[in-house]
């Protein structure tokens, strides 16, 4: 952006921010060496001298806020969240990672393990296996609670490796071999007739679980490797928990956002320079537009693809021709679910949790 001389500036505040300030307010400038203006300006009186009220107004927010889903499938979602502050967007991200609950294996009762893998390592691996079950059907289980059908899922793993007609059976134990026990634990507590769970009814009777039995989301996660004669026999108890306790309860592989990339050509880039620019970008952000008389002009065709490698602003004089920016209140949000819930549902859950938190705050305040 060309520097503006003080003499060229309008004398009187016009009720609008001058363009360079507006740019600072709404864009992050990503220069070759560092990013500038990364902070969002929160203070309502930040532009008081220009007679501009910077306070956040609900009406304006409601008018400007938009969500546009870019892509959605079983596991991933990418959507644009426009007109929102980074703090809020980040809150959703944080909640998705740490506070949306899922079910994960927490306790493992090993009846027999003659494999090379150590029990605690196996238990750790089991814990990280994502389970395909809606956590909203279950309750949290506190230390003092008895395991019942509302707070515990019991899975069984019983594998014996053997040599059968020259082939080794069950050489690798995979997550598909985890069997759901809807009636709870089968193991009895020593010297009692009780088992480790006290289910009042089978979990299969629950309508939501009737048609889609609980299993690992992915059938081919390797849990252990065995040799003939070795076996693993265990029962795993999954409970509800949150990602902040342990990463295994995190419902997302990752949830992240990026600000919308914006690539500005500060001057017309023509001919060989245009070709050079197109050549420079490894992700093909630029295109060449043919002008008349065989002349060419560079245009920004796919700014959304920009990965900020900053190749286009490197080199002699290029920082004067191209500027990479990020639009501050436009977030490209993407969520990769681990499989317990679809990604769109996950995001809504996070909204609910944030809402709940706000409610709680209001209650505390009143």
């Amino acid at each position: 952006m060309a520097p503006t001389s003080a003499l060229d500036m309008p004398d009187m505040p016009s009720g609008k921010l001058p363009p360079h300030l507006e740019l600072q307010r709404t864009r992050v400038i990503c220069a070759a060496d560092a990013a500038a203006h990364t902070e969002s300006i929160q203070y309502s009186g930040a532009y008081a001298l220009s007679r501009i009220d910077n306070s956040l107004r609900l009406r304006e927010f409601c008018d400007n806020f938009r969500v546009e889903v870019f892509s959605l499938n079983e596991d991933d979602i990418e959507f644009d969240m426009i007109g929102i502050d980074a703090a809020i967007a980040n809150a959703f991200r944080r909640i998705l990672i740490a506070e949306v609950p899922t079910m994960a294996i927490e306790k493992v009762f090993v009846a027999n393990n003659t494999s090379v893998i150590q029990e605690e390592v196996l238990a750790h691996r089991l814990g990280l296996v994502p389970l395909k079950v809606d956590p909203r059907l279950f309750e949290y289980k506190s230390e003092s609670d008895l395991a019942n059908e509302k707070n515990t899922i019991v899975l069984k793993l019983d594998v014996v490796c053997s040599r059968q007609d020259g082939r080794i059976k069950n050489a690798t134990v995979k997550s598909e071999q985890l069997q759901w026990l809807p009636n709870g634990s089968e193991y009895q507590i020593e010297k009692t007739s009780k088992t480790y769970t006290s289910f009042s009814c089978s979990q299969e009777t629950l309508p939501a679980l009737k048609d889609n039995p609980i299993a690992s989301r992915y059938p081919d996660i390797i849990l252990a490797k065995l040799r003939p004669g070795q076996c693993i026999e265990l029962e795993a108890h999954a409970v509800k928990g949150m990602g902040k306790t342990h990463a295994k309860w995190s419902p997302v592989a990752t949830a992240r956002y990026r600000m919308l990339p914006e690539v500005a050509l500060l001057e017309n880039i023509r001919d060989s320079l245009a070709e050079e620019l197109v050549e420079k970008c490894p992700v093909n952000v630029f295109d060449i537009e043919d002008l008349s008389r065989g002349r060419k002009k560079a245009v920004v065709a796919r700014p959304r693809d920009c990965t900020l490698c900053r190749e286009c602003v490197l080199g002699d004089g290029w920082d004067k021709r191209v500027q990479i920016r990020r639009v501050k209140e436009h977030f490209i949000f993407s969520v990769e679910s681990t499989g317990a819930l679809p990604p769109d549902v996950l995001f809504l859950e996070s909204v609910k949790i944030l809402e709940e938190k706000c409610q709680r705050l209001l209650v505390e305040l009143s």
Binding site: A35, I97, E120, V121, H124, K248, T254, T307
Partner: protein
């Protein structure tokens, strides 16, 4: 071009062709760089990483041991009593490792030995011939096994006698051994012991040196099989003297000459050299001799006789005259390695002449002084040589024992049975001597008065690299405390032989070294044929030459293994011919030929202990190794030995390297180049080979990493879970580094890694990252980053006592609880019915894992020791001791017995740990740091692609450390992740393609849409805003080091006290107190906080109330029954005062009193 049969440089046709061909591109041979890297794996395939140890042991077992028994002094034992009696050793055999058990001989494997605490040893047997009564009997071998077993020899793993040699990987694995284990160590009583390579000054060589006053001195350490001696020549008041241990005083050199039969002064001077200046310097010495009145041989010997040290052994009969004694010393002690036949001292005189000339040259020109630290003047003593020394000593001792036995038997007047010596030879002495020396590391060789400590060490099994690095370690004979820089400094001559990086910090810095990757250490070679060859090639024998001819400027002296053979008039032809013979395999490949124009000598060496390394031979700068050779090697038609045999590659030792011009790369070769390096990174050793881009780092960083790589946790061996080590650290999910080097692949570190590839962001975060601390991502830890397993062994022997009773293990005794039910006591919960902890049980501190009971009476005989009642046993259970609050798991239980039928139980406890604050981590660039804080993933910064680092490192770690290699590792690792291939970072590898260049790496990064410099645009996880600077982020291989907080954390409020002083105990292991030291005390005094001082030093420590008699000032006592205090000296209780003082003070008073010193307390009213 004929290469194999004729040295091309000698071939006139070839030379002519190339002289004319200069500048004409078509005629000149094409110079094209051949990738010689493949030679390295081929070399290591043939030689292995610890071949030096194995070769030396093999040489000992196959050759040297035979030489020892056939040595004149050892071969025959005769009796002083019966002159007809004799025992003669005919041959000796070292068998295969085996163990006799219940009268059955069974073959044993190393893994069995480790587990059962026995020695991996093989029987040594001999064929003997001896007289029995009137007949001559011989006991001969059957199937490679000698007639009489004389002892057991510990066998080096993977040596020719080991069961593992010649086995495939699968077969080795079947024996319970790790196929990647290099061998080269011993298993003695279950522990793995390595005999360190010992570095010492070469024997039998003249070393010219300067003494403390700056005078020139010469020293020769002579070493023969029979004798070791040191002869010094020194200059005092411009005269030259000889210093010998057996002379009381320094003796003039000219007197020695005369005593050796060289009476003419002219002859002496001629022998030294014809330079007139020599005569000038020698004049004072000559004058001194005449002033002593010594002119003839006899006079000289008489003079020397007066200087001989009188032997302390007064009881020895004086049989020899002084003259004879002096002559004997000159023959046997003075330069003992120079042979003297029938008192013909001619050769010795010439030798002394050479020493003198070298000294005089050095006096005139200081550049003639030898460098003691020069690697060419060093010899490495390996396991084989050390064991040979020990074996010969023990063998001699055994022989003298047999002789004593024979003598005492024959001395008896009437014997009932015919004496058969084969039945009285006891194998214990040899077996135990060898076993004890290796297990304790104390090398005591009586005949050389050698006593060395710490020769062997327990193989460090902390990580695979630690064990491997241990095999290549060289320990120096220098004292560690001495503050000398010379021996510690990096020597230019150690290029390619010893690793320039791998040395410890601190007191052993520069003294403990490590071999480089391609180094080979020679073993002794047969001397006779080589000497004959030299004579055939025209060496003129010394005995036929006068001093003038010897010193003629036209001829070079030929020195073979420190002995003057003669002179040769065409030294270069001679040297080249010998080299040619070596290249075509007619003489040993390790024979070194070195011409020294300065000394006008040709040195031929075939002795053991020289370091050497292979190099590609080049003719006028053109490598002999061509593309087609490498292709044949790749296709498996060629081995490294073929290269050697065909004269494409040869071994050079440090001395011979001086006659060469070695080019680093083929492209740098000029017409004068004689050799080309195989690969430059082979100058580093195994430990330094792990570092990516070490040539971009500041040198001490590489040294630090060499030390730290040995502490990194990871995989130890393929059989790691079958081992029973006292302490074993394993990583749960070890990875192979994303950025590898060729060395990593060669030493198989990629198969047994010790670290994990962590995504590192270089930025400051949270303030808990100062002083190299790192911030870790909690989710990464949840997912298994840095998780480790610590295994600890506990073992319990089941003792057998003299009265034939023994310990026993019983099921836990049941006790009645409150309700009267019988139940297992809490501490014994984890026991199985056999009284041993169940495998897989969780064990807490204080739990019993072996419920052992011992008989109360172990001395008196018991009628039926196997069936004594329960009441005769007392419980002696083994309880688990570990960090409080942490519980371990019983991993393994081993019930076994050793070779002495001693039954024992070994229990392995396993503890899995996740990283916590204070655990130590390090990258491969000497940058260690502790975990400063653990942060939730959502608080961590994340990139636009959603990548969240595993750990954050503070950028302040870079400027002062200058570890550019780490930055390149990060870039290379990042590019590797993106392109899905491992990138390389071998040392000095860029020109040869074994390291990726930063340009290439950057191009890969850009291709995948990342910044060329590796810096990413990150968002703060806390505020959600982008960070104001781009963050350098990518994967770096991180090692978890063995230092963990859990093992070190310690605090105490109150706890155990020492019995004697009643002060708190010291040290973490004894739950000790935290010391308020002298300096802390000074601070408190300076602050004037006297009450705090009193509280810290007395009240909280060892406060004690005493009764003091104010009258006599001595300590009294308090009678609790009478509630009265008494003074036992005054015999009343009238003047007693009570006061508090430290118990240590009271103890001091009493101890003084016991020494008849009366300390009196003079009390005043406060």
């Amino acid at each position: 071009m004929v290469i194999n049969d004729v040295d091309v440089r000698e071939d006139p046709a070839w030379l002519k062709k190339h002289k004319t061909g200069k500048g004409q591109a078509l005629e000149a041979p094409v110079k094209n760089a051949v990738d010689k890297f493949q030679l390295l794996p081929a070399f290591l395939k043939v030689r292995g990483l610890v071949k030096q140890h194995i070769d030396s042991f093999n040489y000992f077992v196959n050759c040297e041991i035979k030489k020892i028994i056939h040595a004149k002094a050892n071969e025959k034992i005769t009796s002083d009593v019966d002159p007809n009696y004799y025992i003669k050793y005919l041959d000796i055999y070292v068998g295969k490792p085996s163990l006799e058990q219940d009268y059955m001989v069974e073959s044993i494997t190393p893994q069995q030995c480790r587990l059962r605490d026995i020695t991996y040893a093989a029987p040594i047997s001999v064929d003997i011939e001896y007289t029995r009564g009137k007949e001559i009997v011989s006991r001969k071998s059957k199937q490679g096994q000698g007639g009489v077993v004389i002892g057991r020899m510990p066998i080096m793993l993977r040596s020719s006698r080991c069961v593992l040699t010649g086995k495939t990987e699968a077969q080795v694995a079947k024996l319970g051994e790790c196929p990647l284990d290099p061998g080269g160590y011993f298993v003695v009583k279950g522990t793995e012991k390595v005999i360190l390579i010992q570095e010492q000054l070469s024997k039998n060589r003249i070393i010219i040196d300067t003494d403390s006053s700056g005078c020139v001195a010469a020293s020769v350490t002579s070493s023969t099989h029979e004798r070791k001696s040191k002869t010094n020549f020194l200059v005092k008041h411009e005269r030259i003297y000889v210093r010998l241990n057996t002379f009381t005083d320094d003796v003039p050199i000219i007197v020695v000459f005369k005593a050796m039969g060289m009476e003419s002064d002219q002859e002496i001077v001629q022998l030294v050299g014809r330079d007139p200046r020599y005569a000038g310097i020698l004049t004072p010495s000559l004058q001194e001799c005449s002033s002593l009145g010594v002119y003839t041989e006899n006079q000289a010997l008489e003079y020397l006789g007066t200087k001989v040290k009188v032997m302390q052994k007064a009881w020895m009969k004086q049989t020899k005259s002084k003259v004879d004694e002096a002559r004997d010393i000159l023959q046997n002690v003075f330069l003992a390695h120079v042979p003297v036949k029938e008192y013909n001292f001619r050769q010795k005189c010439i030798y002394v002449g050479v020493i003198l000339r070298r000294m005089l040259e050095a006096m005139m020109d200081p550049s003639f002084v030898d460098d003691k630290d020069y690697v060419g003047n060093k010899r490495l003593e390996l396991a084989g040589q050390l064991i040979a020394l020990l074996f010969e000593d023990l063998f001699k001792r055994m022989n003298s024992e047999i002789k004593r036995l024979v003598d005492s038997t024959f001395a008896k007047p009437n014997r009932s049975t015919v004496f058969d010596v084969a039945k009285v030879i006891r194998p214990d002495m040899l077996s135990q001597g060898l076993e004890h020396a290796i297990s304790s590391g104390n090398w005591t060789v009586k005949r050389f008065r050698m006593e060395r400590k710490g020769v062997t060490q327990v193989v460090s099994r902390l990580s695979f690299i630690a064990a491997l690095g241990h095999m290549t370690r060289i320990s120096s004979q220098f004292e560690k405390t001495r503050k000398v820089s010379g021996p510690r400094a990096l020597q230019p001559s150690q290029w390619g032989m010893l690793c320039p990086c791998d040395t410890p910090e601190g007191e052993a810095c520069g003294l403990t070294k490590n071999l480089a990757l391609m180094t080979h250490v020679t073993t002794d070679e047969e001397e006779g044929p080589l000497i004959n060859l030299c004579t055939t090639l025209g060496v003129e024998d010394l005995s036929m030459l006068t001093g003038d001819e010897i010193n003629s400027t036209k001829a070079y002296m030929v020195i073979f293994n420190g002995l003057m053979l003669g002179v040769h008039r065409r030294p270069n032809w001679f040297a080249n011919t010998l080299r040619l013979l070596r290249r075509c395999g007619k003489i040993g490949e390790f024979v070194s030929i070195f011409t020294n124009p300065k000394q006008r000598c040709v040195y031929v060496a075939s002795d053991g202990g020289r370091v050497c390394r292979p190099l590609v031979i080049a003719d006028q700068g053109i490598s002999r190794v061509k593309e087609h050779h490498m292709k044949e090697l790749k296709d498996g038609f060629r081995t490294f030995d073929d290269f050697l045999r065909e004269g494409l590659v040869e071994y050079l030792d440090v001395n011979e390297e001086n006659n060469t011009l070695i080019a680093l790369y083929e492209s740098e070769a000029t017409s004068r180049t004689t050799h080309i390096e195989i690969e430059p990174f082979t100058i580093l050793g195994v430990c330094a080979g792990l570092i990516p881009f070490p040539h971009h780092n500041q040198s001490p960083r590489n040294t630090y990493q060499c030390a730290m790589g040995k502490q990194a946790m990871g995989n130890i061996a393929y059989n790691q879970l079958c081992r029973m080590d006292t302490l074993l650290y394993l990583l749960v999910y070890p990875q192979r580094p994303l950025l590898t080097t060729r060395s990593i692949e060669l030493v198989k570190y990629d198969k047994l890694g010790a670290g994990q590839n962590a995504t590192v962001a270089v930025m400051s975060y949270s303030g808990y990252d100062i002083e190299d601390a790192i911030v870790m991502n909690k989710s990464s830890l949840d997912r298994g980053f840095g998780r480790c397993i610590v295994m600890k062994k506990a073992s319990a022997p089941i003792k057998k006592y003299a009265n034939r009773t023994s310990d026993r293990i019983v099921a836990p005794r049941l006790i009645a609880d409150k309700e009267g039910c019988l139940r297992v006591p809490d501490r014994a919960q984890i026991l199985d019915y056999d009284g041993i902890g169940g495998v897989g049980e969780i064990i807490r501190p204080g739990d019993i894992y072996i419920n052992k009971e011992s008989p109360i009476n172990t001395r008196d005989t018991v009628p039926n020791p196997m069936a004594i009642p329960d009441s005769a046993y007392k419980p002696t259970p083994m309880t688990y001791k570990g960090p409080p609050g942490e519980c371990a798991i019983v991993d393994k239980v081993l019930l076994t017995s050793n070779d002495e039928q001693q039954f024992m139980i070994k229990v392995l406890f396993r503890h899995t740990r996740r990283p916590e604050i204070g655990d130590k981590f390090s990258s491969r660039h000497g940058q260690k740091g502790v975990c400063g804080t653990i942060v939730q993933q959502e608080d961590f910064p994340f990139s636009e692609r959603g990548i969240c680092p595993d750990l954050i490192m503070n950028p302040h770690g870079f400027p002062s450390r200058m570890t550019i290699g780490k930055m390149i590792e990060l870039l290379g690792g990042k590019a590797g992740v993106l392109s899905g291939k491992f990138h390389y970072g071998s040392a000095f590898g860029e020109p040869s393609g074994h390291a990726d260049t930063v340009e290439a790496i950057s191009a890969t990064l850009v291709k995948h849409g990342f910044s060329y410099c590796g810096k990413d645009f990150l968002y703060s996880g806390i505020t959600g805003n982008p960070l104001q600077s781009y963050i350098f982020m990518g994967p770096i291989y991180y090692q978890k080091l063995k230092h963990m907080v859990l093992d070190k954390m310690h605090a105490r409020a109150s706890g155990p006290r020492m019995v004697l002083t009643r002060q708190p105990t010291e040290g973490r292991s004894r739950e000790g107190g935290l010391r308020l030291g002298e300096m802390e005390r000074d601070c408190l005094i300076a602050h004037g906080s006297s009450m705090l001082l009193l509280e810290r030093l007395m009240i909280s420590s060892d406060q004690f109330v005493v009764q003091v008699c104010t009258k006599c000032g001595l300590l009294g006592h308090h009678n609790h029954k009478l509630r009265m205090s008494f003074c036992s000296t005054c015999r009343n209780g009238e003047n007693i005062a009570t006061m508090k003082l430290p118990y240590a003070c009271k103890l001091l008073f009493q101890e003084l009193q016991s020494m008849n010193i009366v300390p009196k307390l003079d009390l005043a009213e406060a």
